[in-house]
Amino acid sequence: MREDFDYRLHFPADNYILIDFGNRIDEELNKYILGMADVLDHEAIIEVIPAYSSILIEFDTGIAQKTELCSFIKNIKHVKTRAEGKIHDIPVIYGGEQGPDLSFVALNAGLTEEDVIQIHTSVLYRVFMIGFLPGFCYLGGLDKRLETKRLDVPRMVIPAGSVGIAGMQTGVYPEKSPGGWRIIGKTDFKFFNPETGTIFPVRHGDRVRFKAVQNGC
């Protein structure tokens, strides 16, 4: 049995508790956090929002007080990390109009555009957390060679499905949004799909694999 991770409890509002595991990104910790989120099951808890290294809880102050929830949380021991999730294949058209920053990312890395595509498609990225926009997945695992700083001036509109790089992160804009990520391609895969029964097809702990396609996905 593995050790439990240490955390601090914050009370940022009367109806919120933040379980804070420190300011870091670590796959083992994140797996533990997802496992802990799975067992945060209490009648007063309204919502559980797991992140890289923290969990936010909203609770109903009419059902339980802070102290009761604190002891409930502290009594959670020997957390089982959440099992690996599904693998999603994401078809991407790289470069051209769909990926206007591919050439910059290549130039910045001293690589060819083909190298960038080959490296970007060779990794199985893990979904650490979801946030910012509905269905926006924070993916871990970007190859260090592709790290590129954000645009100095963000674009007013980035189309839905745009695949981007920002610093050590890569991800897909689930809907049209302003943003400063370097856009290297575009996908038809819908990370936020309100018209179907599976509105959020990708979940925490799932993994994502990009696949280069020529056109139409």
Partner: protein, 282 residues
Amino acid sequence: MDVETFRIIEPGIYSSIQDGGRRGFRKYGMPVSGAMDPYAFNILNNLLGNRPVAPAIEITGSWFSGEFLRDCSFALSGANPGADLDGLPIVMNRVFEAQKGNVINFSRMHGGIRTYLGVSGGFVKQVFLGSMSMCRGERIKRGEILFSENLKTEPNETDFDFSYIRADGNYTIRVRKGPDSDFFDERILRNFLNDGFFVSRYLDRMGVRLDASENISGGPDGIVTKPVFPGCIQLTGAGMPIIIMNDGQTTGGYPVIAVVEREDLRIAGQLKAGDTLAFKSV
């Protein structure tokens, strides 16, 4: 059964249907939404004898008019927009009987920015992820016909106090330490609580941005992204405080210097450009 109740003649700057909000999907990045002034929204439904979170129209500013398409009881709560019904003044927080064809008109705000228009039974919209709240920029359009539940309710006597909405636009909001407060140095924490701020014109249902100040610039960088919620006050490196509101992002990378006390969220929901704001630690 739902019936045609109200036709929007002029939706104004921004009008939307709001209820108590959308719970359970923030972990997928879906904002909580719901009424920006939860106090006014609650009083409104209480007066009308509705269930506490029956959907109402949230109207921003005083450029609004609409027509009743059937006889029904209605009320206005929140910021006073100087409204009339076919020329007769509408008293805030009082239940009126509208007749088919009556037109409601707003004229001028007397402090605050958000007014709630409710009808007995409550308006209805399609439920999405457990809530009727419109979100992510969805708005009520000119000419749109709104439906409500065909439900006769008994109005209630209710006590209320709207003195938190200030005609002079000078506000104080109570805050507590944020999860990232420890990352800030003394100077910034002190100036944040001692200085006054102006509300910038960049404000909407996602967040309220205040004018940046050198006195609180140069704060910490490189905070690992974590969940945020309505009332969290992020501070950018340039010294701009941003109060996250109901349609705001569910996670954020800017450090949270302080959090608005739950009871004072109603004040944040009534701020408008040019108002002054001071923070007071509890």
